[in-house]
Symmetry: C2
Subunit: 256 residues, 2 copies
């Protein structure tokens, strides 16, 4: 496996966003939740009609990216449909390109100010549930709320249902029950999302995947977001209104 | 201006789809409709909050890509948000990366079989009206209809309105009036779309931008699609039903 230092200009991941990625936390040890990330990457390729990525090639690329690195790192593994094809049409037998890079990952800096964005998730596209190379909507959502003084964007879908944050899944607590938007709301099937749901089961906390509007989150007892780099991030305010802290959030974070 | 042969793995266009592109036809002469494409690229950068691309740098990249090339070519100009930033957040002063490539462009191969896709355009995102690096939805739509024997996908938006084809704008004719979906349907503001609307004005044909469902297209007198590479492409069938030809389509194509 030759590590890829640069992408050819005809790579379909670059030209058309035809690919997927995974972000894994490396924190004084092997990449966290490797099997779960590889499983999701493999399932994503299948969903997009791409060949199955070779686990050994993915592992070799990741190992190369981590050589000589230490500290808290974000390991990114990108798989693209490779080169070739004509316009939108892929070649008949695409050859995946696998790229891994590592960058320092700062520790989360405390409770999050969440602000609702005007950019909507498209729950009517299969890509809304996959970690594809198309993150421009999320970039715009994040930039919008940064301009309003927020840390992270809350995104609704085109049916006005709550979906997720720009770079994280969303959870909330009401009366010791745990809620999160159903995947059909246009939600990334997050590795940390799955682990939180599993942790809830381990703590005998009822967890419900729902299709609901913003009011359900606004009136929750507590709100938090999750991804592989921040783990569990408590939400301190939603659209400027303070959100209370809740002991269950720390319990769930400890159970992941 | 140094021509870019490869993209760094940290380019935001590659990692997150943070960028735009233009496709121009080169056919025994200079790139067609250069000013219109440059204007749209510039407007797109403004819409995304990116700096204004330097017209001289864009021209130099295009010239480099065309050195020693002849025949019918597709010239692609890609502008990305460059490298840097942290996660979704761009650096405070992004430095655009400009890449131009040229590839042979076959002549259009005749009337098109159009099939409606299940993948929806997200009219609730500003990116649906821009030619961004995120084309995965369109790739999936095209692949879906190829699997059904079609040539090109017709895409609706999440409101069930007709939007566009996977790689082209959509027009139809009813009683010598010309119809096309309004941009607010989640439609790319196509250079050829604008020229067709201008050609209609020149021919004293009433042109109407509309928000309508699929039935309006199914019952039209004729349907055609447009983009910079195919120009005007007559639609021979829609979802398996033959569509008539119409003299106005050729008149509009001649007037572009």
């Amino acid at each position: 496996m030759i590590p890829v230092d640069a992408i050819p200009t005809d790579d379909r991941g670059f030209t058309l966003g035809d690919g997927l990625f995974e972000t894994l936390l490396v924190d004084d040890g092997p990449p966290q939740f490797w099997d779960e990330h590889l499983e999701r990457l493999t399932a994503g390729c299948a969903a997009l009609g791409l060949p199955r990525p070779d686990p050994l090639a993915v592992k070799a690329a990741a190992d190369d990216a981590l050589v000589g690195r230490s500290g808290r790192l974000a390991l990114r593994i990108t798989v693209t449909a490779g080169s070739g094809g004509r316009g939108l049409d892929r070649p008949s037998a695409p050859i995946l390109r696998v790229i891994a890079t590592a960058a320092p990952a700062a520790r989360p800096s405390g409770p999050i100010s969440l602000v609702t964005s005007n950019v909507r998730r498209n729950e009517r596209s299969p890509t809304s549930r996959l970690k594809t190379l198309a993150y421009l909507d999320n970039i715009l959502a994040r930039a919008e709320v940064r301009g309003l003084g927020g840390d992270e964007a809350l995104m609704l879908n085109t049916r006005d249902e709550v979906a997720c944050a720009a770079a994280a899944n969303l959870f909330w607590i009401v009366d010791r029950r745990l809620f999160t938007p159903a995947l059909e709301c246009g939600v990334l099937d997050g590795v940390m999302r799955r682990r939180i749901l599993a942790a809830a089961a381990g703590l005998a906390i009822e967890a419900v995947e729902v299709r609901v509007g913003l009011a359900a989150v606004q009136t929750a007892d507590a709100v938090f977001v999750t991804n592989s780099l921040i783990g569990v991030g408590a939400v301190a305010s939603l659209d400027g209104r303070a959100m209370p802290s809740h002991p269950l959030v720390a319990s769930l974070a400890a159970g992941v």
